[in-house]
Symmetry: D2
Subunit: 225 residues, 4 copies
């Protein structure tokens, strides 16, 4: 599966505002913003919410993580086949809040490819982004951990992190889709991210905690044009 | 919430036979066996399957794991509130395939109590079972890892593990519900487990991989009487 | 090996003030304070410093951690036999900065017993202390993580943590030696710790970062009498 | 510091044959083989043995691992400054038996560079090797985990793993020193490794468990010429 760019991925994390019924509601608002603007908006809810959301909306749904496992004796782990059967079409990997061993990331990228899931691997800096690019996922997203949840956006506060990532990643893998995240909370953070060479953004609290997530998503989507 | 004993907990693990639609079907068979025998049968499916199963059946549903986290910035983790809103009434904790740090187990037991989830903490031997008992969960289940998935049952092959667990746990916490697991595949493994002092069993492949899970569960349930 | 109580364990952590030559110097000052007061003072330096320190001083030396492994294919891990041959007579286990899975703690306690190493297992609260007591190590030390390195001592700020630990641990294991730590920086923190029912303290920055560690250790040692 | 190539790194792991006094003896034999042949032989003993070995021999000594930490509150961890003061001039990183998160590997490579330690990062396959190359360590060593300790050498059994690694790594970083390991037990395994494009080998049981480690090391060293 190949997703359209520019894209906005909304990471629901484990906020109460994006759990259960409220996750479903948020996904519907994301779908509305996506349909009205024609911009690809992906939602990444918690595992227990994937099935209900994929039944209710047509926009792409990602898992927040999958484990490097085969079916069988893996109590409490996240099986690729399980999130896929629930309707997910891709997955975040190695988010700064769910970091993985290097060989696990490599295994999960391969696994996602085999199962037809889009892989979006997160990085904390340009050097790690380049390492990820060498393993050929579909998407990499750079997020300086110190800006996550601050409302101070990476594209404004650390534009060099984004431009260095674009440079290093494209040296290793010229076709890779690059996103950036951390602190994205205004439409201009999004337009700036695209000017710096990315193909979209990975957002969380800027949408999940917004008073009117639909409006903010519309603005973000318009800002990608 | 207080569950009736004796009880049988069916851990769906990450088998393909207990993923998605097949998980739902298996849960229905467990419910049928439970209703016909009056014995408490709990199912513990993968996270993505919890919501659909709790809508379809009335028997108790457990998560296979929850994380020691509060709502918020915990991408890829399992929030107690999430599995609870999906309908789970309890959770496995520290299964040998998803082991946790000691302080995490303590935090999760407290968290489960606060959220009204039944806590079933797994142990690999009597000494670890006693340690768990000191942290006051609702249930502890002892499972020698070397017997898991073998079809050679703990109650037959290592009865002293079960009796030592019962002795040590009840010294620390006389009211604790004790289960045992690993290799449980025949009705007599279940009746023997109860004779050794437990209040039930934790089973996985013995049910999930059975040709006729309903029949095996009926036999297991009858064997608890 | 059985250590004399009351005891003071000085955890060198990974401070530069307690690395290499400065670790050796600090160990000699601890030995001097121990010999002059007759109080048992244990030092727990970094792994690379154990051998030189055990050659130079006669007081007991602990490792800061050992791994639950057998000799062989365990690159980068800490083998009990290695720290023992370097002269260590015991080890800290599960310090809040080096937490372990429950079954690992149980394995390491057994391993330490087999190899003749004194085991001192750390806990973050009374409930976890009781869990540890059930696994029968030689010593348990309770340290509320939020007070570590603050200079605000557990014995003054949270005396109920210490008394609850003593009560719960002795219910499980009446003979267990109990220490407390976190924020211990004055002699009266030590005397108070003993009044609350412990047999000594686990200290780090209060000694390592002191202008005159020897003097502070003398005061601490006198305060145990 | 820049090490001469071709090189042979002997990973002492946690074998009893390479612990304590026997580690010191083995390091002396490695030094003898190195001096007689003029080939660079590095030894990587356990942490507790580094100081004594660096005092006794002149060949380079590596740690088996360091942690991505600064001096301070890191009980039980491996501080770069500690192994450096003990005389180590480099370190293995991410050995298959001590795997690390991706961002940790990146941090440790930077840390090693700052502290003047040679960094040798291990990989399990060509794709992971290329990821490592993007983070600019001094050396990368590819070792298929399934061959480690088997006596079946990677250079004979899986030459394509080595040649693919050389190709992918040099595309990302043309100057990087590449080694290979796993199952290296005969002189021809070494010469073949060099023919496949590496600059040396990472060996463990082939030397540590040999009846006459000195003789085997001499043969290995001669085979690099």
């Amino acid at each position: 599966m190949k997703l359209q760019t520019p894209m906005i991925i909304v990471n629901f994390k484990t906020y109460l505002e994006s759990t259960g019924k409220r996750a479903l509601e948020l996904a519907k608002q994301a779908e509305k913003a996506s349909k009205e603007t024609g911009v690809c908006i992906v939602v990444a809810p918690q595992f227990a919410d994937i099935a209900k959301i994929t039944e209710a909306v047509e926009i792409p749904v990602f898992a927040q993580h999958i484990d490097p496992i085969k079916p069988g004796n893996c109590t409490g782990h996240i099986l690729a086949e399980s999130v896929k059967e629930a309707g997910a079409v891709g997955t975040l990997i190695n988010h700064s809040e769910r970091q993985l061993k290097l060989s696990e990331i490599d295994s999960i990228i391969t696994l996602a490819r085999e199962k037809g899931l889009v892989s979006c691997v997160c990085a904390n800096n340009p050097s790690v982004s380049a390492a990820i690019a060498a393993m050929q996922p579909d998407i990499t997203s750079v997020e300086p951990p110190e800006l996550i949840g601050t409302g101070v956006s990476v594209s404004k506060a650390k534009p060099e992190v984004v431009t260095d990532t674009v440079k290093l990643v494209h040296r290793v893998n010229p076709q890779m889709t690059i996103l950036c995240g951390a602190g994205i909370s205004q439409a201009e953070d999004v337009s700036l991210a695209l000017k710096l060479g990315t193909r979209g953004v990975l957002v969380a609290s800027g949408i999940v905690k917004a008073k009117d997530p639909y409006n903010v998503l519309r603005e973000f989507a318009d800002a990608t044009k």
